[in-house]
């Protein structure tokens, strides 16, 4: 017996729809029965591994955009990246001289050892992965939303990682903080330090060491109020930073108060390597800081000079790179989220690129501010 079926468009469409329904029903059936084991310990079948690997590679390549890559050999970027990598990334990915811990080695997929694998990707591709993370792998995106600028520190560090010896890595990662203490007694009784990220001096400098990178501000000598506002804003996520949010997130409000009071009473060495600055830029910056530009721009020192409210941060002695980066961030709207931030955003609206450079150069050329030290009433020393 032969069944004659005449193909019409309607029948083709109905047939295809039936196939689709069957496929969805089949998938749901497999999920419902639990036939497909999601056990990480099983691993994927070979075809699945190849497929996922292929999809991941294509996704990274397709989503990467042309970016303005900064100088990735800049030690300021590498040191900042190292400090964060050690606290945030090494736990899964391992580090030179420190293999992936057994807990994370049992993940599926296993976090790749980056000393070897980071070289597979271009700087833009690495930036995309660090910035956005990868679905289905456990790789998180950058916790400071819209802080694409910060991600370059990680990229610079990852590019440098393959050449690092364990000793060199240890030095980079610890920054100014003492490297792991060999105090067995403390280790046995108290366990490892519970706040591995929150060693401020690791990056920000102290009485005995300058900040490890000109991308981070000097905190010692700021007023307690300004420090508290900054830490609380990072803690609540109002102020975005992939570096500082995880640190502040580990701190209680009491601890923030104590840290602010402590740092405020300390001094810090000035930045180690200062960029060569043009004396004309410093002079122009001084004029802007004292009097504004005679048009719309407010005079910076009225708020950021010595005698203003304690909750306004002081800029004297901060690095030009840091001041420029923050002002850029404001111009892009990234900091108009807190009362103080919104106020400043209205001022940065009127800043030109040239004025940003000049103001940063001026403040960087000043001695580091010390809260409570005698200051001239108008703010700013000659």
């Amino acid at each position: 017996m032969r069944i004659r079926v005449t193909l019409t468009w309607l029948r083709i469409v109905i047939g295809l729809l039936a196939c689709l329904v069957a496929a969805v029903a089949g998938a749901l059936l497999i999920a419902w029965t639990g036939l497909y084991s999601l056990a990480a310990s099983h691993g994927h079948p070979g075809w699945m591994t190849s497929f996922l690997e292929f999809g991941k590679r294509r996704s990274i390549i397709a989503n990467t955009r042309d970016l303005n890559v900064p100088d990735l050999d800049d030690p300021n970027l590498i040191r900042l990246g190292a400090a964060h990598f050690d606290a945030g990334c090494a736990v899964c990915h391992g580090a030179p001289g420190r293999p992936v811990t057994p807990v994370f080695e049992a993940m599926l997929p296993v976090p790749p050892p980056l000393s070897e694998r980071a070289q597979d990707w271009s700087p833009e591709e690495l930036h995309w992965v660090v910035r956005h993370g990868l679905q289905f792998t456990g790789m998180p995106g950058w916790s400071g939303e819209d802080r694409d600028d910060e991600v370059w520190a990680m990229v610079a560090f990852l590019r440098a990682l393959s050449d690092l010896t364990p000793a060199a890595y240890g030095q980079l990662a610890a920054g100014n903080a003492p490297q792991e203490t060999a105090d067995v007694d403390a280790l046995v009784t108290a366990g490892p330090a519970s706040l591995p990220m929150a060693a401020c001096a690791k990056c920000h400098g102290s009485e005995s060491a300058p900040p490890t990178s000109d991308l981070v501000p000097i905190l010692s000598g700021q007023s307690p109020a300004a420090l508290e506002i900054a830490l609380n804003d990072y803690r609540s996520g109002a102020r975005e930073s992939g570096f500082m949010e995880p640190v502040a997130g580990q701190l209680s409000e009491d601890r923030i108060g104590a840290i602010a009071a402590y740092l405020s009473s300390r001094e810090s060495l000035a930045y180690a390597g200062t960029e060569a600055t043009d004396p004309d830029a410093i002079a122009r910056g001084r004029e802007l800081a004292r009097r504004g530009d005679g048009d719309r721009l407010a005079a910076c020192d009225s708020c950021h000079g010595g005698s203003a409210r304690a909750d306004y941060p002081r800029l004297n002695g901060q690095s030009a790179v840091y001041i420029r980066a923050q002002l850029q961030l404001w111009k892009e709207g990234g900091r108009a989220v807190t009362p103080h931030g919104r106020l400043m955003a209205e001022i940065t609206d009127d800043l030109s690129e040239g004025q940003i450079t000049d103001i940063a150069a001026y403040y960087a050329s000043q001695p580091v501010f010390q809260y409570g030290a005698a200051v001239s009433p108008a703010g700013g020393e000659e």
Partner: protein
């Protein structure tokens, strides 16, 4: 009945023509002569109109002596050619004389005052003061009976300076200095307004002009030139909050120039560029709600200032007389 009500309503509307910002309440020489010209033109054209309509009615009416006379070629020559020529020539000469006339040619060296339009307020500088230029804002004081020359400039976009009671409007154009010469005949307070759209708060960019007898003006200018009293209550809060980044209070470290000068702000008629009457209450209102009162104005909001700090700053401003 209905028509009567309409007439009354129109009459009521006429009341709007008077007041502190009206060319019909002219007290400046230029505005007075412009107003006179307006009346001459209006009344004259009404008379001519009535004459023409009268002639038309007569021409359409029954034949008679009047119609006869209207049809006379001499009437056409006199009424149609000579009359308009004479009237228009007189008006032309009169208006030329008006344009040339005015205090500009009035010999004596004028008093120079610079007025700069800025989004959305006015910087007023009394340039001819013995001790050097004296800066003020959002209020112009001038001596009655003296020739005053205003140098009008703009810091950003095109504004237009108009005090209807004194003179016609003059644009303030970036990169240019326009001059306006005034001579005011009677003391009094009138209102001026920016009359060229200049962005968000344009409609709220006003000012007061106070014409005062010359000796009172001289005394006032001397007071205005003096620095503010030092160490007034609230000065510390004012400075610590950073108000001096944009505002100048002479005699204190506050030397900002981005916003209006405040040395004697409490002695001005209004705050916020002609927006609020100067009262202690309104200083507080302005500090608390200036973005509601004058949307888009460029003073940032200090959300984090405590009530006590606002109170202290308001007290300070109030004392700046």
């Amino acid at each position: 009945m209905k028509r009567g009500a309409c007439f009354l309503a129109c009459l009521a509307l006429l009341a709007g023509c008077a007041g502190e910002q009206s060319a019909f309440s002219a007290t400046g020489e230029e505005a007075i002569s412009t107003l006179r010209l307006t009346w001459i033109l209006t009344i004259g054209s009404v008379l001519v109109f009535l004459l023409v309509i009268g002639a038309l009615i007569a021409a359409l009416g029954r034949p008679g002596a009047l119609r006869q006379r209207l049809a006379d070629p001499r009437m056409v020559t006199l009424g149609g050619i000579v009359f308009p020529m004479v009237v228009l020539a007189i008006l032309l000469i009169y208006s030329f004389a008006l344009l040339r006339a005015g205090p500009a040619s009035a010999g004596a060296a004028p008093l120079n005052i610079a007025v700069e339009g800025k989004q959305w307020w006015w910087r007023v500088t009394y340039s001819d003061t013995p001790g050097g230029p004296v800066e003020s804002a959002n209020e112009l004081r001038i001596p009655v009976g003296e020739t005053v020359r205003l140098e009008l400039t703009s810091a950003d976009v095109i504004h237009s300076f108009w005090v209807p009671a004194y003179a016609g409007k003059v644009d303030m154009i970036p990169g240019r200095t326009n001059a306006l010469t005034l001579k005011v005949t009677a003391p009094g307070i009138v209102r001026g307004q920016c009359t060229e759209y200049c962005g968000g708060a344009h409609a709220l960019m006003a000012f007061r002009v106070i014409a005062m007898p010359p000796e009172e003006f001289a005394a006032w200018l001397e007071r205005e030139a003096a620095p503010a009293e030092q160490s007034l209550p609230g000065e510390a809060e004012f400075l610590r909050a950073g108000c001096g980044a944009c505002h100048t209070v002479r005699g204190t470290p506050a030397e900002g120039t981005a916003g209006p000068e405040l040395t004697h702000v409490a002695s001005r008629q209004t705050i916020g560029a002609g927006i609020l009457q100067t009262t202690p209450e309104n200083f507080r209102t302005w500090l608390d709600r200036h973005r509601e009162i004058k949307p888009g104005n460029l003073m940032p909001e200090y959300e984090f200032l405590s009530a006590a700090e606002r109170e202290a700053i308001a007290t300070y401003l109030e004392a700046l007389e």
